[in-house]
Structures are given as C-alpha cells and as structure tokens.
C-alpha cells in the first residue's frame, strides 16, 4: 500500500484498495468463516445476494487458504480486486489432474502410510473430479469424497 497516488482519492476508501471477494452459497458461509478464523475479524462485509453471500476481505489470501475455500465449496467464486479497483476472478486453484500438496487436508484412510504419525510423508492428492469433488491420495490411492473433505476442513 505504499504506492499511493492521487487517483486513489477517487475511491471511497483507501483501505478498500486491495481486497478479496468471495461469493459463496449462503449455507456454506459458517464453514467458510471457520476456515478464515484468523482473518475473520477483518471480514469487512457480508452482503447477501439471492441465496449467496459475498464476503469481503481486506487483503489477498494465501494459496493455502484459497485451496481450502475451493475444497470446501468448489463452486465458490473468488475475486481479487487490485489497487486500481479492477476485479478479476482467481481461477486454476482446483483443476482436474492437478495435485494438492502440503498439510491442507489429510487422508482419512487409517491404513494409509500418511496416517502413520512417525513416517515422513507429506499429504498429496490428485483432483480426480471437480464437481462433485473427488480427490485421490497419492500414497494409498483411495478416493476422498466431498463430504469427508468438508467434515475435515471445517473442523480445523
């Protein structure tokens, strides 16, 4: 936020300059807030529009958080609003065939090597299908369906 120019004065508020908008179906909002718990105090506005909620956050979210949002609700739309007020949709977070790596979600198969606490593994999942969402564990090959993903993420 250092490169302010006079043009910014045309905007209603300077703090609004860079932000993230998340459009999500209303029923999923509580889950979304549980993911965003660290950021929740900063969720500026929740606008209800038809059966959707639009949440506004005063910053860009990390890839990890974006991935979690999409895992929770693959149909959620995420927009970044740049300093000059232009909004663009953030796409490509969940794509079929793409891998999700890191400690974002865990394989629920208790017999999976990634579920053995002492083994040095890093969870890794392939996006098999986007809607309805199906992930596949790289190690044990098991599918994880969307309801299991939601149950896990919203507990975090």
């Amino acid at each position: 936020m250092t490169q302010r120019t006079n043009k910014d004065q045309r905007q209603t508020s300077k703090q609004d300059a860079r932000k993230t908008l998340i459009e999500i179906s209303g029923g999923k909002t509580p889950y979304l807030l549980s993911i965003l718990k660290d950021q929740t105090p900063y969720v500026r506005a929740t606008v209800q529009w038809k059966d959707k909620d639009v949440l506004e956050l005063p910053e860009e979210l990390s890839e990890e958080t974006l991935t979690k949002i999409k895992l929770l609700e693959p149909r959620a739309l995420i927009y970044f609003v740049s300093e000059d007020g232009k909004a663009y949709e953030k796409t490509g977070i969940l794509e079929e065939g793409k891998w999700i790596e890191g400690r974002i979600i865990y394989c629920p198969n208790k017999n999976c090597v990634t579920a053995q606490p002492k083994e040095p593994t890093r969870p890794k999942f392939k996006v098999v299908k986007k809607d309805p969402l199906i992930l596949q564990c790289y190690y044990c090959g098991r599918y994880i369906d969307h309801s299991a993903i939601v149950a896990q993420i919203s507990q975090l």
């Binding site: 017999n111 999976c112 090597v113 002492k118 190690y139 090959g141 599918y143």
Partner: protein, 309 residues
Amino acid sequence: MDIDSRFKGRDLVSILDFSRQEIERLFEVADEMEKFAKSGKEVLKDRIISTLFFEPSTRTRLSFETAMIRLGGHVIGFADPSMSRTVTGETLADTIRMVDSYSNVIVLRHKIEGSARLAAEIAEAPVINAGDGSQHHPTQTLTDLYTLRREFGGIDGLKIAILGDLRQTRSASSLAYGVSLFHGVKLYLVSPEPLRMRQEITDHLKSTGVEYRELTHVEEVLPEVDALYVTRLQKERFADPQEYERLRGSYFVTKKMLERARRGMIVMHHLPRIDDIPLEVDETPFARYFQQAAFGLPVRMALLSLIVQ
C-alpha cells in the same frame, strides 16, 4: 534409449509403472529365464536382495529369494512379522534407509497402504512392491499376465472373469490395472454386492476403455470366458453370516460348475487356496494355478535381471 536400459534402477510399485512395451520386453526375458529356472544364470553375482516382509507371504518371498539365488545373488531380510516388529520400534522410513545402504534391490510387503511408494521415495536402490494394502501387487500381476500370454499367445481381446472379494484382494485390483495396458480385454467382475471392485479401479477401467461388467453369479458368463481368476471369499468380510452361506456356492469353483466352461478355458488362482478350489478341480483340463505359480519364478528372475544395476 535401448529398452533394457530403461529398466535399470527402476522401482515397481504399481503395475502401471510399466508400459505395455516394457512388460512385453520383460516377458521375452522371462521366456529365456524359464530355461534357467532350475540351473541358474549368474547375471547378478554378488548383488544383494533385501526381502522385507512385514506381513507374511511365504509364497511370494520364496519366489523372490529363489529368483535372486538362481541369478547368483544373495538374500537378506526377514519373513516373520514378530521379528519385523522388533525392527520396527523404528519407522519404516528408517528401516528402509538402513537396508538401502547395503542392498542392490529391496522387496517390500506391508499391510500399510502406500508404504512401497514411501520406500521408493526414500531408497536409492530400486524398490519392488510385493503387495501393500488392497490395490497393488505388481509381480503377481506380471505372473498372471505372463500365464495368460503363455496360454493364449497374447492378452489383447481376452475375456476374463475375476471372482471373489474384489474389494480387498490386491491381486484382483492389480490384475484389473494390468489388463488396462492391453487392448480389448473384457472383464467380468463377479462378487457379492458389498465386495465390488473399488470405484478408484473401475474409474480407471472406464478412463482406459476397458469394457467390464459387474455381476454376482459366475455361472451365466462361464461359457464365454477364456480365464476364470479365483480369489477367496472370506467369511469375516460379511456382516451377516447367512448372507455368506447363501453366496458361497457361487464362489467355490467345482468340477460340476466347470462343465459349462468352454474348451480351453483356464482357472487361475494366486494361491494359497483354502477351500475355494477343491482338489477335484486339479485333475480337470482347466486347472492352471500350479503352472501360474511356477511362472512366478522366471518372471521375477526377468524383473530382477532387468532392474538391478
């Protein structure tokens, strides 16, 4: 690059780690190895195989160990899970690191799914999965495919019925993956409803264009199939024992049942059988499971000779 050099140092975790072309090359080498199955061929002199069997499997282990000895190499390892438990006060990862430092190839059998994948990531030496979890058993599948090829001259276009517990039996899942590398194979997946093949595998069959049909009784398709691959139905898998009693008749292959099979059909089994194939079937012209088991040796000799540096 010459095809044989593509094998050097390679891991084999899933049958899908190999291409059709590579499998066919391996079979050519196995054809040659059949001649040396009794006499030996010392191409891996002074090389060491580690056989780490965290889950017992006498048959698979002996087959690997014999293959290595016939190739002139040496064997270290353990077969007894209680022994392995004392080793595994440490993690699998640490066991693999230790063994890796003095092995030229590591063979791993483990009940934890994905352990062979992890071992392959850690070890410098090639890792061969001798069965982990419910999906992969690539050397069993190589042996099964080799048996089919020996019997029918090829695998393309065969009609194969896989019978039994298709949900938990790794040989069954692994074979389904294996035939997807060939053309026009038709699978009949015969199991009780709750023991159907997992969606992970049937999705793979769909995406690779393998025609398959799921059914509960084998009798209706028996006259059509070229091979009947039998796996054991375990009573413990049924919530309702009466359900097991009602279905078991369709999953034990009898001489009477085989009267409906076409000439030239073969019955396969990864062994050991318990009561799923009674002794009376052994004397029929259909029985092929002992030959199938014997082919495990030249196939494993071929694999070891190709991948060990």
